[in-house]
């Protein structure tokens, strides 16, 4: 690639990735705010669930997927019951590695 093409590559990538992020600046945020104000937390919950489902899209009925799901359930329970983020992630990772090691 020539230097010109490299600069073009970075610029296209930069504009392409920033245009969607800066889009909310263009819309009337007050109006959107009014629409979203009642359901903001619920929307956050829905978006988080969607992201999680998107991440799990490649799961199949196989042992590793089951291990990931069960480790994730344990992570969820620790965070939900005790509110300890790092501990929940470490516990999930430990169970994952331990189970993969046994396999």
């Amino acid at each position: 690639m020539s230097d010109y093409e490299k600069v073009k590559f970075v610029l296209v990538l930069m504009v392409g990735s920033q245009i969607t992020r800066l889009f909310p600046l263009l819309v009337n945020s007050q109006r959107v705010n009014r629409i979203l104000s009642r359901n903001k937390e619920t929307l956050g919950l829905l978006v988080t669930i969607s992201v999680l489902l998107y991440m799990l899209k490649n799961l199949a009925f196989e042992m590793e997927s089951l291990i990931i799901i069960s480790s994730a359930v344990m992570t969820f329970l620790i965070q939900y019951l005790f509110g300890m983020l790092l501990i929940s992630l470490l516990a999930g990772s430990l169970v994952y590695f331990f189970s993969i090691g046994i396999l």
Binding site: M1, S2, E5, K6, K8, F9, V10, V12, L13, M14, V15, G16, S17, Q18, I19, T20, R21, L22, F23, P24, L25, V27, S29, V32, N33, L36, K40, E41, L43, G44, L45, V47, T48, I49, S50, V51, L52, M55, L56, I68, S71, A72, V73, T75, F76, L77, Q79, Y80, G83, L85, L86, S88, L89, G92, S93, Y96
Partner: protein, 179 residues
């Protein structure tokens, strides 16, 4: 209420781990395609988009289609519009808001769910998003310098992200219950 650096740093630790691994994987693959650490630095600093950056590697060759790259990146990043609309009212006004929007990623959106967003100050927002940005840039540059690929590392980074979002989900439900 202003949060301290220590609290924000501890909460950002899972992001640091996954970003260093994923960013490292991007840097390594990018370097194997002929990219330099300086290019990896500028791409990760200005684009800061995980999936889009991995996709862009396929276009990193002479005579690439700029329009196709642009359209593909826009489509992949469409979800950022929802994230932005959801968070924009919490962001402080001015140049800080532009930075926060331009550095909005899945993980930054997720980690904001761990805080009481109404109470975050301008400094807190900058620290939360700035730390994540730093981890990503550092991981990408480090990966392009070390140039070593590891599938198991990459796989663990993705699993860790699943655990992270599970924790975020649990935290949102927990907060809703106690509110």
């Amino acid at each position: 209420m202003s949060l301290g650096f220590k609290e924000i740093f501890i909460k950002s630790a899972p992001i640091a781990l996954s970003y260093l691994i994923l960013g490292g994987a991007f840097g390594a693959i990018f370097a194997s395609k002929g990219g330099t650490p300086i290019e990896a630095f500028f791409i990760s600093l200005s684009c800061y988009a995980g999936a889009a950056q991995f996709l862009a590697i396929e276009f990193y060759k002479a005579d690439f289609s700029a329009w196709l790259l642009f359209a593909s990146v826009c489509i992949i990043n469409l979800r950022h519009i929802i994230y932005g609309l959801n968070l924009i009212s919490y962001f402080p006004r001015g140049i800080v808001r532009i930075y926060l929007l331009s550095s909005l990623t899945d993980e930054s959106f997720g980690i904001s769910g761990l805080y009481d967003k109404e109470k975050l100050t301008k400094k807190n927002w900058m620290l939360i998003f700035g730390l994540n940005h730093f981890y990503w840039v550092f991981g990408c540059v480090l990966g392009s310098i070390l140039n070593s690929q590891s599938d198991s590392f990459n796989r663990y980074a993705n699993v860790l992200l699943v655990f992270f979002f599970t924790s975020v989900l649990a935290n949102i439900i927990r907060t809703k219950r106690t509110a």
